[in-house]
Symmetry: C2
Subunit: 388 residues, 2 copies
């Protein structure tokens, strides 16, 4: 391609990133641009390019061919940048208010040039710092109603849906989830990472055959149910927010899977705040209630107005589906609670608790709640069952 | 390609089919070949090419770009020939005894050159004529245990399975099943085709909301569950057999779907014989019992010896899976019983009953049994529940 001078991958520098932004005509000619690399350096380079005079800015994100997680270096497909750009483009069409705009993407360079969201805060960071994001639960409920409905067999024509299934086959990133969420935390696996004080609790998980059976059913659903195009990694670190706006970023794990997986990750990541701060229980319950109510109302509305499948166009099927989504969400939330506590990848909500006793207590609560969600997920009937 | 002189599709003739067989060196040079077109002319051309001297023969099958069903002409993708050749190649590796050998295939010409099975009989035709095929239930049970296990997430590595899912995305042929098996028979659809004497019975189906809910759940499973690579059209017309041998042909509907779909089509198509000939009840029950027992024993053996997924490697998960397959099979068998009676595509087992009263009785039995299977499929616990 003309915009990038090489035909093989190489990492951008601050100056080649700025040059690309100029060639893409994202800034007027002659602009004086400021470039800073703001990524965490683990998975991606992230350049923020801004023009002080006009106040305009964009983000150039480039995938790195490896992942640095807990010091270890894993090779990681660059294709994830294409999946991410394609997923952003699908989700932007379906839920424009909640997805950043993509201006350009390039498969060889694994580059996505997109809207700068620096005026917003990563939701996890903000929540930990005591921010409120009062509209976030409603916004994410609406985002998921739209993306999950319009990419399903009920919102697409059969051939369109199957084409998307093929486009979003994402083996490398799915494998990470399959291992780190569904398998390793339930065994004494070398990838696991937990404080020594939790060893007995972890061993209890590994010996719990009922828990492992129910987790295996959830893993089967993740492996085989192509219900909707998922974000695939929808925790509070993938959400930018302030008091008015909410944007969902980083869908590099996107693939066709069970709707409850995205729903459950949202629920679990809201719960981490309550687990870390028991005084937030009422607030978190209310967030989850608003999230679910918005999702189910909006999904039901779309279903009734726009369902493309005549056989399923009735209220009983819709009720079945919403109950299934809820049960799956409960189970997947349980898996997230457990893997963020004993698995490889943690959350700052829990790890950031300074007092050791409180921190271990919180992590034990996460494990107990996670086990309970997983074991009981097939019998949950309403969002109040789950909150209770 | 060199073997075929044109670069765009055209139908073979007897002489170009023979010339192709020679160029493929399937016969010694100078052989005197006899060619006959033995297809039914609706979907495919089928040439049998034989050499009297050596006794050798092959089949050349070529997809036609349309389907003639009940006088109507539908355009139909030629890609189905590629799907068929690819599926035969996968299944041949997994269950070599039960799949014909493919010598050559060509995507542009939609041609598959394969083993001649003329020494065998189409199972449906043979069963109607009173033949026994004593090994067929056992053979098909073993064929399905192998193909369903080794193409699942438990018999393949995750990336291999996802690659196959993508390779076998088959929108056009799946759409036929979605419409003709899962949707149209449950509505007063123009594609339906039934004797006037069945109108009241058909209207009863269309008004049965419970039946339609359960059918919608089965359709959802067909649309979203990528459990295994299915044959996709495994009725007794897709099976060649004699007293010793059984071969499964025509997998042009192959796609990743719920294992119970293939299992259920076998059960339903064995049942048509019992419905048409109530005196065969004991024999049919025994066939279904042997089929299921072979399938579940062989599947369990493969599961225990070769399961690639550690989380699901336990007896309780296997028991769950076999019960799910049985329940799905019962439901899908119900759909097949109904669609072959009031839908577009019929079976000779029922349509061939000369006596009108007996024929209508048999068809009513098929509808009642089909409804019962669909409505009760989620509560069936054993193969005896189903046979009972």
């Amino acid at each position: 391609m003309v915009l990038l001078q090489n035909t093989t991958y190489e990492p951008l520098t601050e100056s080649s990133a700025a040059a690309l932004a100029i060639r893409l005509r994202l800034f007027p000619e002659g602009s004086v641009l400021t470039v800073s690399e703001i990524g965490d350096g683990n998975l991606n380079l992230v350049f923020r390019i801004s023009d002080h005079e006009s106040g305009q800015s964009v983000i150039i994100k480039q995938a790195l061919p490896y992942a640095k997680v807990v010091g270890e270096s894993w090779p990681l497909t660059l294709k994830r940048a294409t999946i991410e750009a394609n997923a952003l483009s699908v989700f932007k069409k379906l839920a424009p208010n909640y997805v950043p705009e993509v201006f350009f993407s390039d498969e060889i360079f694994a580059i996505t040039v997109m809207e700068d969201l620096s005026h917003l805060t990563i939701a996890r960071t903000g929540l930990i710092q005591g921010e409120d994001f009062p509209l976030l639960p409603k916004h994410i409920g609406e985002y998921l109603a739209k993306t999950l409905f319009f990419t399903s067999d009920y919102g697409l024509k059969p051939a369109e849906k199957k084409e998307l299934v093929g486009k979003f086959i994402n083996p490398e990133l799915c494998k990470i989830t399959e291992d780190l969420i569904f398998t390793d935390p339930f065994f004494d696996a070398p990838t696991n990472d937990f404080e020594e004080g939790l060893r007995k609790d972890a061993e209890k998980l590994w010996a719990d055959e009922e828990l492992k059976l129910e987790a295996a059913l959830l893993k089967k659903s993740f492996l085989t149910e192509t219900e909707s195009l998922l974000h695939g990694d929808l925790h509070t670190g993938s959400i930018f927010a302030n008091n008015d706006e909410t944007k969902v970023i980083d869908p590099e794990f996107a693939f066709y899977g069970p709707a409850g997986f995205d729903l459950g990750q949202v629920v679990a990541n809201l719960l981490f705040q309550q687990i870390a701060n028991p005084e937030k229980q009422r607030k978190t319950s209310s967030q989850i209630r608003v999230f679910w109510k918005t999702f189910s109302q909006e999904y039901s509305k779309l279903w009734k107005e726009q369902n493309t499948d005549p056989l399923s166009s009735n209220d009983r099927f819709l009720a079945y589906l919403l109950e299934k989504y809820l049960q799956d969400a409960a189970g997947f939330a349980g898996c997230e609670l457990i893997r963020r506590t004993v698995g490889l990848s943690h959350v700052a909500d829990l790890d950031g608790i300074q007092d050791k006793v409180k921190r271990l207590d919180a992590k034990r609560t996460a494990l107990q709640l996670g086990s309970k969600f997983i074991k009981n997920h097939r019998t949950i009937k309403s969002i109040e069952d789950l909150i209770g």
